[in-house]
């Protein structure tokens, strides 16, 4: 049972464009959603996160849009740079529980110069 789904599996955008990465979840109890960025051979690095009480979270070029009713969220990367090329993982958890993160399978993002 895939509790967190990400799409697309792979995405290529031109430098300077906005990349949009999608995520959906099944567990209504999830209320905290971090996005992680992972480069090959490295561990996932926390990029930005959102709590379900908010519908938008912005940090520089990175913005999360959250729709609780539809159980969907998206990560927008504005003015994308070649250095943003990485795999991005969406995750969810219930902060009232034991806070295990449930991850999606990731989106591989390639920024073409």
């Amino acid at each position: 049972q895939q509790q967190v789904r990400q799409s697309p599996q792979s995405l290529t955008v031109w430098e300077g464009e906005t990349a949009i990465l999608n995520c959906s979840y099944e567990n209504s109890a999830f209320d905290y959603f971090p996005w992680y960025q992972q480069f090959p051979g490295e561990g996932p690095a926390l990029l930005i996160s959102i709590l379900s009480v908010s519908n938008k979270k912005e940090d520089g070029r990175f913005t999360i849009f959250f729709n609780k009713r539809e159980k969907k969220l998206s990560l927008h990367i504005a003015d994308s740079q070649p250095g943003d090329s990485a795999t991005y993982f969406c995750a969810g958890t219930n902060t009232g529980g034991a806070d295990r993160l449930t991850f999606g399978k990731g989106t591989q993002l390639i920024i073409q110069p």
């Binding site: 996932p44 034991a98 295990r100």
Partner: protein, 114 residues
């Protein structure tokens, strides 16, 4: 961001042997986690640990697995005996807790069981 260290970065062992994976979590963090990532798949939760005890474990956390953090030293994952299906990258994470939810991950240990 806060740094979690893992030792070794790569371990190759024969099936049936014991292996210990070491994690040096962020110094003031109270909660510790292990996740497993098989190549090309998503990361999956194994176990979390707080105040010297396992809080929750998943079905992937087999009887052959154990965790401990003796006297504030490394947080360790021990597998004894290892099986071929244990080959994966194991990530350690830590979080402060106390109303914060961010989990910070180490670089991973790639375990190859032959």
């Amino acid at each position: 961001g806060p740094k979690v260290l893992q030792i070794p970065s790569h371990q190759i062992i024969d099936m049936g042997q014991m292996v210990t994976l070491n994690c040096d979590p962020v110094s003031n963090h109270l909660y510790f986690y292990w996740y497993k990532q098989i190549l090309g798949q998503q990361m999956e939760f194994l176990v979390n640990f707080y105040n010297g005890k396992v809080m929750e474990k998943s079905k992937l956390f087999k009887d052959q697995f154990s965790v401990e953090r003796p006297d504030g030293s490394y947080f360790t994952l021990k597998i004894q005996p290892t099986a071929l299906e244990d080959s994966a990258v194991y990530f350690c994470a830590s979080s402060m807790g106390l109303g914060t939810y961010e989990q910070y991950f180490g670089p991973g240990t790639r375990l190859t069981v032959l």
